[in-house]
Symmetry: C2
Subunit: 409 residues, 2 copies
């Protein structure tokens, strides 16, 4: 809030401190956190919550999603998941809305010997990182979820991998953001020049590519929503992530009877639902949990995740525009990463100092070193967040950073 240049009271009052582009969970949570700190915030989006979050399952799974070669990402996922309980409490308090936040934990299961071998290799890696994943004997597995198919040969419990309902999260965040003073602007932003604010935060998911030149690409996901018959609650309580004959699916049970069954990961930018994807998802889901065959199939839908070259998000000032912060590229992790993204971006806006957690995710990692560093790289650029900090990442603000005055001008 310091260092703003003098202007007429009218202009000063009219110009927002922060303009957020994109009212998905990331953008809305940033807006909420910034507004709650006393900043004047506007949020541009003609259709809030209509992007990837409308399709997302809402798993908060840093442990089950801790994959080989993504240690920095895993660290961020864990940091964000650790914030989720308090974030959920605060948001429920601030919005008065339910989030569908559930803490029964996640079971990871496998059908064939090959499926289990693949799962066990990953559990060993996750245990090597000190993460809480506990292999279960078949009887222990069935004690926890009697509805699992007899052919499910083994599994493990990740007790700290929770879930939230993204379709409840977004309206709760809108309410909280607006109660804190953030002002919605129901218009699309086609270019950053249309936005007038001290700081612009681009939280536009796949739309960030056109606005910033950052290498964010759509990664299609198809997902199904089922419903237990007759208004019953689903016959299982845990999130179930399964390997079934080489197909990976997840099943997320909601208290209202809904079960989310997902999801494909496709390098495509259309949102059509294909017969083959629905077949694969249903086959694997019913293989793992036979009772699903009796469930109503209430929705088949596809969405586009904002992917990046290294599968990690892009968080921080973009090259050549220190007044523009990217908060995009969350790919399959947008929901779990919402609290840490919101907190750290709000910290950065307020203090001008970047938390070290952000370092590996700096937009500068996609920029070639040298005098042309102000140009964003194309989609083909290989980044490095999964293997270490990229160029310019150590110093938040990027290569073009000069002074705070400059950055927030």
């Amino acid at each position: 809030m310091t260092g703003r240049s003098p202007s007429t009271p009218f202009d000063d009052r009219a110009r927002p401190d922060v303009a957020v582009v994109g009212a998905g969970p990331i953008g809305l949570a940033i807006a909420w956190r910034c507004a709650a700190r006393g900043l004047r915030v506007v949020v541009h989006d003609p259709a809030p919550g209509s992007g990837a979050s409308a399709v997302a399952a809402g798993m908060l799974s840093p442990v089950a999603e801790a994959y080989f070669g993504e240690r920095e990402l895993t660290g961020l996922l864990l940091a964000s998941a650790a914030r989720w309980p308090a974030f959920a409490d605060e948001l429920t308090e601030a919005s008065g809305a339910e989030l569908g936040y559930r803490t029964e934990g996640t079971l990871i299961v496998g059908s064939t010997g090959d499926d289990l071998a693949e799962a066990r290799r990953l559990w060993a890696y996750q245990q090597g990182l000190g993460l809480p994943v506990t292999p279960l004997r078949p009887t222990e597995l069935r004690d926890r979820e009697p509805a699992l198919a007899p052919r499910v040969r083994g599994g493990a419990l990740a007790p700290t991998d929770h879930q939230v309902d993204p379709r409840l999260l977004v309206p709760a965040l809108r309410t909280a953001a607006q109660r804190a003073g953030a002002v919605p602007v129901p218009q699309a932003v086609r270019a950053l020049s249309e936005v007038d604010a001290r700081v612009t935060v681009v939280a536009a998911g796949c739309g960030a590519a056109a606005l910033t030149g950052l290498p964010v690409r759509p990664v299609k996901g198809q997902i199904l929503r089922l419903r237990a018959p007759g208004g019953a609650t689903p016959g299982f309580r845990h999130v179930i992530r399964g390997y079934a004959d080489g197909e990976q699916v997840y099943l997320v049970p909601r208290a209202d009877g809904e079960v989310v069954l997902g999801a494909t990961v496709e390098e495509r930018s259309d949102t059509t639902v294909t017969a083959g994807a629905v077949l694969r998802l249903l086959r694997a889901g019913v293989d793992l949990l036979p009772e699903l065959a009796e469930y109503d199939l209430v929705e088949t839908v596809a969405g586009l995740r904002p992917g990046t070259p290294d599968n990690a998000p892009i968080l921080g000032p973009i090259p050549g525009r220190p007044d523009v912060l990217a908060a995009t590229g969350h790919h399959r992790h947008g929901i779990v990463l919402t609290p840490v993204t919101a907190d750290l971006i709000a910290d950065l806006v307020t203090s001008g100092v970047a938390d070290p957690l952000l370092t590996p995710f700096h937009p500068g990692r996609f920029v070639a070193a040298g005098p042309e560093s102000g140009n964003a790289a194309g989609p083909g650029t290989r980044g490095s967040a999964g293997r270490g900090a990229g160029p310019g990442a150590a110093e938040v603000g990027g290569p073009d950073r000069t002074t705070e005055e400059d950055r927030w001008s």
Copy 2:
């Protein structure tokens, strides 16, 4: 038109000759045929075309659907299918609308040895009836449809089994009926006492049970609509009826790229779409025609067919009400049976004489013989249309028929 009782000119003009209850294909075609013969016709339906026809695939398959023990039904199916070419021409002429009528014929195929054994047993029966079904060698099958899966081991051609698009048929029939003078009444009929006409035709599908007491019950069918990607036409031309690992499905290709994939036959009265049914249909469909996996899944829907105890339609005056004609219970055959039903019911209304083709399908077959013959039987009654004419069937007008004056009073 003879024998009407004297009344005031005003009343006579206001009272319709025929009130049709139900504006599905059957009711609309009857209304069209009656209006075209100069009768004053009204058609009661708050939502024309919203019943079984909205879900139906539109196969005109008397040969492939000629099953053991249903000889009278097969005769009616053949008679109606023979009328379809002229009916389609007349209707296109009368309505100016396309019907999606296609004559490429039907292929019946099987995957496993068991599937083919079952199919061959039926072909032998059909050939024994003198019906045109010709087994093909695998190379002949692939010459006709190269897109069939390699695992499809054999098949047969039913060249006279055609198709029409029910979603085009209904609007065409509405136009033709209205142009001929039939008047739509967009209100539901809850009891026959609400209808005032010389003759009432109950063509209300499953709704006929409540109106007439006839043993018509809902038989649920779930069906999928796929679409070839990118606006292409489907990669096959024939209707394909397949046996795939014990699952029976059909695939109906349309010129506009749509493929109908159906259908379940379930003794249920709900219209929910279940995960298990979608899985079974997609699995069998993709097994037979692998390219379907790349198709868009654009619709999953369930409908209720009007089933009867003997799977045959109910056509003719209902017991105790010679002025009320049933035209319902068409089960899985409503579209193919539309021309013959419309012609013969219109004949009956006009001349008072029933075509012998109607004899096995008289409503009286579900009524116990004896003095209580005026009471319609309950849904548990076993009829006999599949095994010969039932009681009262020989004499159209039923046991209560006395004189024409009486019947049309």
